[in-house]
């Protein structure tokens, strides 16, 4: 069994407190993870400047090249992970075994992380709008129009309290390294795999180990990362997001409530977009914040819901190694039963209809885990409670709503795909502050262009644009 030890600025730490990572279906331990408490995190964060210092020894161009090598290593090499050598297949198998995600989805998340690192130069070029990256090292530079611009680093390290079950989110912290900002990560208790393997790939590619801290542990360790690093991100529930709202030091990522809005000008041709809708709902087992949880249109909503139900309603549980598996397990069965109970409550409201009712039982309970099979519900009005719900399985509500009310009623929407050629609607969607990422045209909500910022620009989070004025000093008079 693999043992994963905490990493304290590149040095493995021998913890006396271990937690087992277990197989979601059998309950068998598959890894032993050494934990640390908040005291160790706090102590290390007082040395965080050394992590940035180690990265500043390299130019951003050198770091970008090493990131590209790390991408290749992450996706294809045998790497030292914890006390073992880990092949790609072992990584995929271990990640699937602890998170309940089908193996092909693990591979796809792995490819996504690798893609971001491989294209990190273009991504940074876009996120900085073409700024010379040496400005970030030096703190300022001349823009080319005789104007000095300054970006001041706000933190020596980026802290991150990572999720248990979403291996796709790691793309968000990867760009910190070429931006010469160290990483202090608390791996998710069921998904330590990506941060450990990624850090191993970085180090193997020549990024200084002193830039990395891995702090597995409980709430205490996570809390210390959030309070002791000047900039950190956390992944969690709506409650987590609300808790950190307005805190400029913490970027909280939670449910996305991503949606597809269908304009009146194209809704009669809704069948043309059926595949887009199905992919947006079903991909990655509906677990991501970028999965579509609401489809809004003024008419044909019942037909749209029925057609999607016809496609995803029959999806059933398959073994995680099956390339056709579409459903991830809930590794904590109570989460599935709790979610199922909440959905039943949604369905009890008048005007809400389960369009997948004829496709059999939705809650599948096993000894150590549970599954929820896909559900499509129809809501005859945005007033129905279900219109604003998002769950961690393929679940979508198709909401009947007049077009002129849509943007007022949708609420917070991480990805909003707007299917229309109506310029007025396009303009209004572009102006809506409820929509974070706006897709105009047939783009599934789950397909992100990494050359665009995601939930805020990481550059703005880690660096602050400020004034930097320079004048020549008078030449001293020789006496």
């Amino acid at each position: 069994m693999i043992t994963l030890s905490p990493l304290r600025w590149g040095k493995p730490y021998e913890s006396l407190d271990f937690t087992d990572v277990v197989h979601f279906d059998t309950g068998e331990p598959i890894a032993r993870v050494g934990n640390v408490g908040g005291g160790i995190v706090g102590r290390d964060m007082r040395q965080a400047h050394k992590a940035r210092q180690a990265l500043l020894e390299f130019s951003t161009d050198e770091l970008i090249e090493r990131c590209k090598q790390a991408a290749v290593l992450f996706e294809s090499a045998d790497l030292s992970v914890g006390d073992s050598q880990q092949s790609v297949d072992q990584f995929v198998h271990q990640q699937s075994a602890s998170t309940g995600l089908p193996e092909h989805m693990c591979r796809s998340n792995m490819a996504k992380n690798s893609f971001v690192l491989s294209n990190i130069d273009q991504i940074l070029d876009c996120l900085t709008r073409g700024l010379d990256l040496s400005f970030f090292s030096r703190g300022y530079g001349e823009e080319g129009r005789g104007v000095i611009v300054s970006y001041q680093s706000q933190t020596p390290v980026l802290g991150a309290v990572l999720p248990n079950n979403s291996p796709g989110v790691h793309t968000l912290w990867l760009p910190a390294i070429p931006l010469q900002v160290g990483l202090a990560l608390k791996p998710g208790s069921q998904e330590p795999w990506t941060p450990y393997r990624m850090v191993s790939a970085f180090i193997e590619a020549g990024i200084p180990a002193a830039a990395f801290g891995l702090y597995p542990g409980g709430h205490d360790a996570g809390g210390a990362i959030l309070t002791k690093t000047p900039r950190s991100m956390i992944f969690g529930s709506a409650q987590t997001v609300a808790q950190h709202e307005g805190n400029p030091r913490v970027q909280a990522h939670g449910p996305g409530f991503s949606k597809v809005l269908i304009g009146d000008d194209v809704v009669d041709d809704w069948e043309n977009y059926l595949d887009l809708l199905v992919e947006s709902v079903l991909s990655n087992s509906g677990r991501s914040c970028i999965n579509c949880s609401g489809i809004w249109a003024s008419r044909h909503t019942r037909e749209i819901a029925a057609a999607i139900a016809e496609k995803i309603g029959p999806v059933d549980v398959l073994p995680p190694s099956d390339p056709n598996a579409q459903l991830a397990a809930f590794t904590v069965p109570a989460m599935a039963t709790g979610t199922h109970a909440m959905v039943q409550q949604d369905l009890a409201e008048s005007g809400v209809e389960d369009m997948t009712a004829s496709f059999g039982e939705k809650l599948i309970e096993r000894d150590h885990c549970a599954y929820l099979r896909p559900m499509v519900v129809h809501a005859d009005s945005p007033d129905r409670q279900v219109a604003s719900k998002e769950y961690m399985f393929p679940f979508v509500s198709v909401v009947k709503c007049p077009q002129d009310q849509m943007l007022r009623r949708i609420g917070s929407t991480l990805v909003g795909t707007v299917l229309t050629q109506d310029q007025q609607l396009i303009h209004a969607a572009g102006s809506s502050i409820d929509i974070d990422r706006v897709n105009i045209g047939p783009i599934p909500t789950n397909r992100l262009n990494w050359l665009q910022p995601h939930e805020g620009n990481l550059i703005d989070f880690l660096y602050r644009s400020r004034a930097y004025q320079v004048a020549d000093m008078p030449v001293a008079t020789n006496t």
């Binding site: 006396l16 640390v36 408490g37 005291g39 160790i40 706090g42 102590r43 809390g223 409650q239």
Partner: protein
């Protein structure tokens, strides 16, 4: 000497046998005190009529306490509080100490002098080299309705010192956590620690202290941010307690906050385990060589800990095996014939210093762990 499988030397076996005899004798005496009309408390005298045995006749040894029904901590919630005062102590000044109480009615226990006795016995276990007689103390932890402040202050006075006290209200801390007001929590912790830093840097010759693990950690951090440390402030002896006092936390504390083991860093830290109901269990000396293992031993015969099976609370587990912690309090002020603590751990063998069973690896009982807020202060 004892070994992991529970086998002990002949000498320790004899000591354990003697200790068991003393416990049996003490048990009978205590039961007679609490169930005699002249000396017993109204609570137990009333409870006696509900029992299907006569405690005055049928309790002949410690194991006979298993005839009592499980002690329900609900009995301790609400009044009248005086029903717990044994008639034998009528008229004496009496304290009431509370535990829990973040919401609802807290559990309360009356005390006359038990807290002094418990801490005087504990004092005998402290090495004078690191807890010098006559030196001053700092008590950094919960006071208010808890007994800890008065007990630690008495310990300091008993050893000839004066105790500085800084209060922390754990009920407010639990509320802050439940409300998710983590900024307030940090500020409150800082408020407490700042006061401790002020005391320690004000020339009061404080050498010994009690602190909860969390506060000790924060204190160490705050001092280091000021360019000093716990050892540099003159602290040489610390006692602390709680389920968050784990081997890993001890390792961190000894190796990183205290500058190494006592002989290197100059600071001796000892864990304790207990609560308002039972008193104070001491620890076997904790060393790196032993993996910072923490084993607690109750102050027998005044209190007893057992590690019992999860499905039968009258059945003790084998040595080294895991079970739930069961506490007994057998003083002439308070009688608890077996209370199921909210913790679990492994049963430890007797050894020369404490020739009776101990418990190690104490942690929240797995069936209640999710509902318990631990390590909050």
């Amino acid at each position: 000497m004892s070994t992991a499988d529970g086998t002990v030397s002949e000498e320790v076996a004899q000591q354990a046998s003697d200790a068991k005899s003393r416990l049996d004798e003490h048990t009978v005496k205590t039961v007679h005190w609490h169930f005699s009309e002249e000396t017993g408390s109204p609570f137990w005298l009333e409870k006696k009529s509900e029992l299907n045995f006569d405690p005055l006749k049928d309790v002949k040894c410690f194991d006979d306490l298993k005839k009592f029904p499980e002690f329900e901590d609900e009995w301790l919630r609400g009044g009248p509080v005086r029903r717990w005062v044994p008639k034998g102590h009528a008229g004496k000044p009496t304290y009431v100490f509370e535990t829990g109480g973040t919401t609802g009615v807290p559990k309360s226990r009356v005390v006359v002098e038990d807290h002094w006795t418990d801490y005087e016995l504990f004092s005998d276990t402290l090495p004078d080299q690191y807890f010098p007689k006559g030196s001053n103390w700092l008590m950094l932890g919960p006071s208010g309705p808890r007994r800890l402040r008065l007990a630690v202050e008495h310990l300091a006075q008993h050893r000839g010192g004066i105790c500085f006290c800084i209060d922390l209200d754990p009920r407010w801390v639990v509320k802050l956590i439940k409300k998710g007001w983590m900024d307030h929590l940090e500020e409150y912790k800082k408020h407490c620690v700042d006061q401790a830093v002020t005391v320690l840097t004000a020339g009061h010759d404080v050498k010994c202290m009690f602190a909860t693990p969390k506060l000790l950690e924060s204190l160490g951090e705050a001092l280091e941010e000021k360019g000093t440390s716990i050892p540099e402030c003159g602290i040489t002896g610390i006692f602390s307690g709680g389920t968050e006092f784990t081997p890993q936390w001890t390792k961190f504390c000894v190796e990183e906050l205290l500058g190494g083991p006592p002989e290197e860093g100059g600071v001796y830290m000892t864990p304790t385990y207990g609560n308002t109901l039972m008193g104070l269990a001491c620890s076997k000396p904790v060393t790196a060589a032993d993996g910072y293992k923490i084993s607690y031993y109750a102050p027998q015969p005044r209190a007893v800990t057992e590690v019992v099976t999860f499905d039968d609370y009258n059945q003790v587990v084998g040595y080294g095996e895991t079970g739930r912690v069961k506490l007994y309090t057998l003083t002439d002020e308070f009688f608890v014939p077996g209370f199921m603590e909210r913790d679990e751990g492994e049963r430890e063998s007797p050894f020369a210093t404490y020739p009776w069973d101990g418990v190690s690896g104490v942690r929240p009982f797995h069936e209640l762990a999710g509902a318990t807020t631990v390590g909050v202060y």
